[in-house]
C-alpha cells in the first residue's frame, strides 16, 4: 500500500480525515485551555499578593507618619 492510496481512504478521505482532524483539534484545545487557565489563575493570585503588599505598606506608612506628628 502506498501513501497516496492511504490518504485516499478508498474514496472516504474527506470523512475519515475530517473526523481525525476534528478529534485532533478538540484534544489540542483540551490541552491548551487548562494550561492557559492555569497561567491566568497564577497571574491573578500574583496580582492579589502584590496589591495586598502595597496596601500593607501604605497602612504602615500611614501609621508611622501618624506617630511622628
Amino acid at each position: 500500500m502506498n501513501w497516496s492510496e492511504f490518504f485516499h481512504m478508498g474514496g472516504y478521505a474527506f470523512f475519515v480525515w475530517t473526523s481525525y482532524g476534528v478529534t485532533l483539534i478538540v484534544i489540542v484545545a483540551n490541552i491548551v485551555a487548562p494550561v492557559m487557565q492555569r497561567k491566568k489563575i497564577i497571574a491573578r493570585i500574583k496580582r492579589a499578593i502584590k496589591r495586598e503588599q502595597i496596601e500593607l505598606a501604605n497602612s504602615q506608612q500611614m501609621a508611622n507618619s501618624g506617630k511622628t506628628e
Partner: protein, 245 residues
C-alpha cells in the same frame, strides 16, 4: 481511615502529588494512542461492507464511551462531595464536565461524518446519536448551572445534585429514545448491525479506548489542579507556592 482520607484529599496534598501522575498519564496516553492509531489505520483490514470509512470507529466509539464514563465519574464524585463534604471530589466533578462535553461533541461530529457515507445524510435521528445529543445537553446544563451561581460551594452542590438527577435519568432517556427509534425505523436507513468484530479491528478499538481514558485522567488532573489553585487562592499553601514560582 477517615483521617487518612482527609489527608489524601486535601487540595494541597493533591496538588503536590498529582504533578508526576500527569506526566505518566500523558506519556501512556500518547504511546497507547499512537500504537492504536497505527494498528487502526495501517494494520486493520478494510471492512467488507463499509470499506475504509469504518476507520472513524476508532475515535467515534471510544469518544462515545468516554462521554458516558465521564458523566458517571462526574456524578459519583459530585455525590461524594455532597455526602462527605470532600472538596477534592467537587473539584474533580467540576473539572470533568468540559472534558466530557468535548468527548460528547466529538462523538456527535464523528458520528455525523460516519453517517454521511453510510446513511447518505450527516444527521439521521438514530437512537445512539440522539442519546448522545441529549447527553451533550446534560453536560451543558451542568456547566451553565455551575457558572451561574457565584458562591463556589453552593455552585458545586447545586450542579452536583443536577448531575446525580441526570444519572438517574440517563437510563430512562436512553430506553425511551431507543424505543422511540424502533417505532420510527422507517425514517432511518437500514441500521447496520455489527456481526462479531474482527480481532484486528477490535484490538485498535480497545487500545484507543484505553488511550482516551488515560488522556482523560491526565486532563482531569490538570483541570482539578487549576480548580484547587483558584479555590484556595486565599490560603497559605497557594500563596507560598505562587511566591516560589
Amino acid at each position: 481511615m477517615w483521617k487518612w482520607i482527609q489527608r489524601f484529599s486535601s487540595p494541597k496534598y493533591f496538588y503536590s502529588m498529582s504533578a508526576p501522575l500527569i506526566t505518566w498519564f500523558s506519556i501512556a496516553a500518547l504511546l497507547t494512542g499512537l500504537y492504536g492509531l497505527y494498528l487502526g489505520l495501517f494494520v486493520a483490514p478494510p471492512d467488507y461492507q463499509q470499506g475504509e470509512s469504518y476507520r472513524i470507529i476508532f475515535i467515534h466509539v471510544p469518544a462515545a464511551w468516554m462521554s458516558l464514563f465521564i458523566y458517571m465519574v462526574m456524578a459519583v464524585s459530585a455525590a461524594i462531595g455532597i455526602i462527605w463534604q470532600i472538596r477534592l471530589a467537587d473539584m474533580v466533578a467540576a473539572a470533568s464536565a468540559p472534558i466530557g462535553a468535548s468527548f460528547a461533541f466529538l462523538a456527535l461530529v464523528t458520528g455525523a461524518l460516519w453517517g454521511k457515507p453510510m446513511w447518505g445524510a450527516y444527521w439521521v435521528w438514530d437512537a445512539r446519536l440522539t442519546s448522545e445529543l441529549i447527553l451533550l445537553f446534560l453536560y451543558l446544563g451542568y456547566m451553565a448551572l455551575q457558572s451561574a451561581i457565584e458562591d463556589q460551594r453552593s455552585a458545586d452542590k447545586a450542579s452536583g445534585l443536577l448531575a446525580i438527577v441526570g444519572v438517574v435519568n440517563i437510563p430512562i432517556i436512553h430506553y425511551s429514545v431507543e424505543w422511540w427509534n424502533t417505532l420510527h425505523q422507517g425514517a432511518t436507513v437500514a441500521k447496520f448491525d455489527k456481526p462479531s468484530m474482527h480481532i484486528d479491528m477490535l484490538i485498535p478499538l480497545l487500545l484507543m479506548a484505553v488511550a482516551f481514558k488515560l488522556l482523560y485522567a491526565a486532563l482531569v488532573l490538570v483541570r482539578a489542579r487549576n480548580e484547587a489553585l483558584y479555590r484556595d487562592r486565599n490560603r497559605r499553601w497557594v500563596r507560598e507556592l505562587i511566591e516560589k514560582l
